[in-house]
Amino acid sequence: MAAKTIDISNEQFDAIVVGTGISGGWAAKELCEKGLKTLVLERGRNIEHVKDYPTAHKDPWDFPNGISATRETKERKFKQHRTGYVTREPHQHFFVDDIKHPYNEERRFDWIRGYHVGGRSLVWGRQSYRLSDIDFEANKKEGIGVDWPVRYKDIAPWYDKVEEYIGISGENLGLPQLPDQKLLKPMNLNCVEEHLKAKMSEEFDDGRLLTIGRTAHITEGTKPGLGRVQCQYRNRCMRGCPYGAYFSSNSSTLPAADATGNMTLRTHSIAYEVIYDETTQLATGVRIIDAETKEKIEFKAKVIFLCASSMASASILLQSKSNRFPKGLGNDSGELGQNIMDHHFHVGAFGIADGFEDKYYKGRRPNGLYIPRFRNLGGNTDKKEFLRGYGYQGGASRSSISEMVAELKYGPKLKEAILKPGEWNISLLAFGETLPDSSNRMYMNYDKKDEWGLPTITFDANFGENELAMRKDMKEQAVKMLEVAGFKNVEGYDLEDRRAMGLGIHEMGTARMGKDPETSVLNEHNQVHTCKNVYVTDGAFMTSSGCQNPSLTYMAFTARAAHHAAEQLKKNLT
């Protein structure tokens, strides 16, 4: 799939998709497969599957300093480095330069981005869970934010479709809070995780369960795309997978879109405005700046899909000002850019497992354990201290050098100890739901412009009382579970310095769906209420956050919205 460089400025497209990540790839595939001539815009460079994964086969000794992040990278990518891992040498090239791509913070916000074809679908965490009606109904039931205009039955078939296409491995549990999925065979738990699972089912009567994570990896058979085959358990996913074993736009959806002959992919294209026509009350196209030449270009189309990521799509809409929409396209409600949510984490517990010294594992599993939400589901699961719930991810593994190393000064004995595996460590890391709150917001700063003369984003958001109250329980229950399993040195933690929003890289909610244009930006089909040929299908549409990793939901809503858009176009043509 080659990026186009030919002059396409006079072409009339059926559809424009802004962004090529998890959502943009799905929009491109679905629209192209419906026969729509589609222009796909990506602000960064092209990344061709396999060819542009330069580090995929490198061992630590193939890098000058092992996998450590260099000082130069840490200085250029200083906000990305707040994660502590994305700046490491094997994959730092998939994350942005913060000096070149600045943003502002009234309150700290960690905006972790990848500007290239495939976006963060190349580097995502791959955990894939469905939302349930417990999630879709929660806002209405509790009077928080606005009600989702969608229920589980509306989106369930689209989850099916997406899951069957991309491949997700895992185990169905039949839980109302975590619907069953179309799953490939699960990866294995290791012996220490099996021990914890058995102890949990003996010791708790509130329904809490341990399972293997549901992850977007092929574990049996193949999937469509560019030669997508089974996971090889190398755990080098963030470098790009030469087997196409985990889902990315680059290996799966974009090649499918390309194969139709209907896709034109233009890279280095920074979309900054949707063009609005006051007479038809519809959008007519998109304005971009060529990132390399700095030329401004307009592209025309009948329908626009914004899939630029939650913050970037909101930014484009905020910049799309007209007489009709002085506060930005579709922003009659004033909610555009507000209600930012992320999952709060870096809270949980760890411990050491004795009695498994003669056990080890083969392979490097790109996955961990999962403990689905078990709070506020009725009966003895209800907590009065907070609303909603959380799940745990984590796992057990052996440290790669013996603890003897700390006790030995030097010499042959020390040398022997560094070659032997150490203790079994186990860790539970909670991911909690965040409530929508209009004071958590982003807005455009027209005083601070980037090198293309575009306004930058200012963030002003943080977690609230409900999240902080939830964190106490997240820590306590993690400790409790590890203790009942008989692990030693169990310690709970809640890292206060890592509590900023954005670090979960699940930022969402800036153009929420709702029933009422007065209080929301998008309708039940992801259309801008007041400009129906503009669809927003990235994380911006989320009305509440759930505690599940959200990418799968973005894909399902995108596929559904693309289907709707194609139907609408067909109706108008006939």
Partner: protein, 200 residues
């Protein structure tokens, strides 16, 4: 997609295609002599001491010594390219202090020809391991730099890290499996003969 392209992709997918040969670089031969190696960060006399020190930590046995796998170059480059400027300054100052202490301890001015036995005597007294108390730290709890023991432990840790990040150790000494193809639990003895995996 053209058939040839498809076959090529499948080759990648099935792991048949040879990847770019690993960059052997410094690892091909033993070059750790100051005469052949120009340190990027360390002073020449510090490099001399480092060469001796890393071989006290990890001496030659049936397995290569630290200098056999070029640990000193790795440490020097790591401090140069990875450390923050602040950490570099702390490292430099601590190295200087430690050199002075070794001189005083052993009553020798030039450390170029220091014997392993003299370094061991110094480590026995100044490198504190788990369970031992660093009196220098206790006397100066707010000191921003590194105490002698902290610095020696830094060198020890970096020596181990560099040794384990070496191609020969990673591929021939530790259990090495670049493409495992599966994940499951088993007996330590039968899986790796008691060794760690080199990749994690």
């Amino acid at each position: 997609m053209k058939r040839r392209d498809a076959i090529k992709r499948m080759g990648y997918a099935a792991g048949f295609v040879m990847v770019t040969p690993t960059i052997l670089g410094i690892l091909n031969s033993c070059t750790t002599e100051v005469a052949k190696w120009t340190p990027k960060f360390l002073m020449p006399e510090q490099a001399e001491v480092l060469i001796k020190l890393v071989n006290v930590f990890l001496p030659k046995t049936s397995l290569p010594s630290a200098t056999d796998v070029n640990v000193p170059e790795f440490i020097d480059r790591y401090v140069d390219e990875i450390f923050t400027i602040e950490d570099q300054q702390i490292f430099k100052a601590a190295f200087g202090n430690t050199m002075t202490k070794i001189s005083e301890h052993q009553g020798i001015e030039v450390l170029d020809d220091i014997e392993d036995s003299q370094l061991k005597a110094f480590l026995d007294e100044h490198l504190m391991v788990k369970g031992e108390v660093d009196t220098e730290r206790e006397a100066n709890p707010d000191f921003k730099g590194k105490t002698t023991s902290e610095f020696l432990n830094t060198i020890k840790t970096m020596t181990i890290q560099a040794y384990l990040t070496n191609e020969k150790i990673g591929e021939e000494v530790l259990a090495y499996e670049p493409i495992p193809g599966a994940y499951y639990c088993g007996d330590l003895k039968s899986l790796t003969n008691g060794k760690s995996w080199s990749l994690d």
